[in-house]
């Protein structure tokens, strides 16, 4: 079974859910939503023991560490292991006002994010269209090209270290052969970001393409066929009819990818550790180095909270845009 089947599963999930959601709506319109809620719990007596372990683990693994990090960010942690004195928001103030490296790493994070996202979305759409066509061998090909996205990022980093090597690398040999010169790739502050854009696009375009392919295959046939009968060419049909229909799925794929891209870490840490001269230091790399090389846990926590806020703001912004476009 393929992604199309998954789409089918999902749409049937929605039809099953629809009447249930309707009951909830009626319950809310009745004398009081509390009664419906009570009813819900009474009907599902014994639910709590099944949920409790997950609640305990979520509290211990997700809520507690975030709370701990917030505490670290407003105190002066000492390498001896004590929390030290209360620092208020001074770490945040230092970050915003006196730390040019924070702004540099923010800029690098955003450049990487935007370039990777645009490249992966456009190439993903093209590849996704190819994957949506019903030809023999489609599902095997689909699984095969997913390999770059599912092998360990450490393996990706190691293999591209060899590809980008300035003396024996294939990348140099190809650009040299095409007459584009022999850039230093990872060794040059001006090219290192682009080397990572290329690598990450290679790694994650298949992921985007797979989502788009499933989306294209779930599009209703009628509007597309109507456009063709009305004399629109294939490009016009795709651009004017197909793309707007596909927009909700594009938005979700962009959201999933954004959340990962803003936290760009693994391949950079493996390949350059943020160098040369900080030119590939993303916020995540910077926070890691402050914490585990400089052993300044309070400031590292501050930087990571800032990164979390950035992720939430961007993800929230995309969700808001999505809601707004749905209302229209």
């Amino acid at each position: 079974m393929s992604a199309q089947a998954a789409v089918h599963d999902m749409s049937s999930a929605q039809t099953v859910l629809a009447p249930r959601a309707g009951t909830a709506e009626r319950g809310r319109a009745g004398p009081g939503k509390g009664r419906w809620d009570r009813n819900k719990w009474r009907r599902n007596k014994g639910a709590l023991p099944l949920l409790a372990p997950a609640i305990v683990l979520t509290a211990a693994l997700i809520i507690f560490p975030i709370a701990y990090a917030i505490v670290l960010s407003v105190t002066n942690w000492q390498p001896s292991g004590t929390l030290g004195s209360f620092a208020g928001l001074s770490h945040y103030a230092h970050m915003l006002a006196h730390d040019p490296l924070f702004w540099d790493s923010l800029r690098i994070t955003l450049i990487l994010y935007i370039c990777c996202l645009v490249a992966q979305t456009l190439l993903g759409l093209a590849l996704g269209y190819l994957l949506s066509l019903d030809v023999p061998g489609r599902s095997i090909f689909q699984a095969l090209i997913l390999v770059p996205s599912i092998i360990a990022s450490v393996a990706v980093g190691l293999m591209w270290l060899l590809i980008y090597d300035p003396t024996i690398g294939v990348a140099d040999w190809i650009t040299g052969g095409l007459g584009l010169g022999r850039p230093a790739w990872l060794g040059d502050p001006h090219t290192v970001v682009w080397a990572f854009v290329l690598l990450d696009t290679w790694e994650w375009t298949p992921f985007m393409a797979l989502i788009f392919a499933a989306g294209i295959r779930s599009l209703p046939r009628e509007p597309l066929e109507a456009a063709r009968t009305d004399g629109a060419g294939p490009w016009q049909t795709a651009w004017r009819v197909g793309l707007p229909l596909l927009r909700p799925i594009i938005v979700i794929a962009v959201l999933l990818r954004s959340v990962d891209l803003i936290r760009f870490f693994d391949t950079i840490y493996v390949m350059t550790q943020g160098g040369p001269v900080n030119s590939s230091t993303t916020l995540n790399i910077y926070g890691y180095r402050i914490g585990f090389t400089d052993l300044n846990m309070s400031y590292a926590a501050t930087l990571q909270i800032a990164l979390l806020i950035l992720v939430i703001v961007i993800a929230g912004g995309i969700t808001w845009l999505r809601r707004r476009s749905q209302v229209e």
Partner: protein
Amino acid sequence: MNSRTFRRLPIVYLGYLAAGILLLGPVAFMVLSGFHHNIDITVSPPKLGAPLTLANYRTLFGTLPFGRYIINSFIVAGGSTLIALFVGIPAAFVLAHLRLRAAAFFILLARMAPGVLFVIPLYLMSVSAGAPGNDVINYLFLIFAHLIITLPLTIWLVLPYFEALPSELDEAALIDGASFTQRFSRVALPLIKPGISVALVIGFIFSWNYFLFVLTLSNKNTVTLPVIAFNFIGQGTADWGGLMAAATMISVPAFVLTAVAQKFLVRGITAGAVK
């Protein structure tokens, strides 16, 4: 396949070929280089058809306790995936019934928070718990840290399968006097086996691949394959053959699952996006 698609078949396969070379070429290059002598790798342009050898793998297993690292990877990825399934699947069943929106928020938060944010408190706690010097505590910390990845993922992947079950089944069981746990274990659970497979496959591969927690929390006895491969970069001057062999070793689960569980992989990767 209609006639228009049929006419386009050569173009489609040409596209497959181009995409396949670009996307799988580097992977094939990595695997092949792992089976070549260094002298054949360190030439430009790359030499095709150089003699194959197992020397790099012999060195890996000869000079390092590589078997131990493989077992470590299985302990951490397997442990965190199994705990996530045991805890996450019942939770997903409850969430599908009670439609708790707040829970979705925490799942999302775990997906959005940077790993370093979690690892700073975890590292401080593991040091005060004595994890650097005690292998058992260390394994436990690694498994629990990886639950940050696998638990939200499991709930996220299994939830749609529970939601897709017809509500009549559950109501019939309720009328027959089945308890909540029975409605879960006897009625719903047998029907969502594909969802469990998806969560198992995706959870294992994500946990196996995860780098940061092992990088910061492990000691020399508990370290897993990806971090060992990374540490390899520093040692020995550019032993490319050994590096590529190590990179290939980390990728084996991904290759195996692509071969035997492709439908679960593809479904898991697109889950949550295509609803």
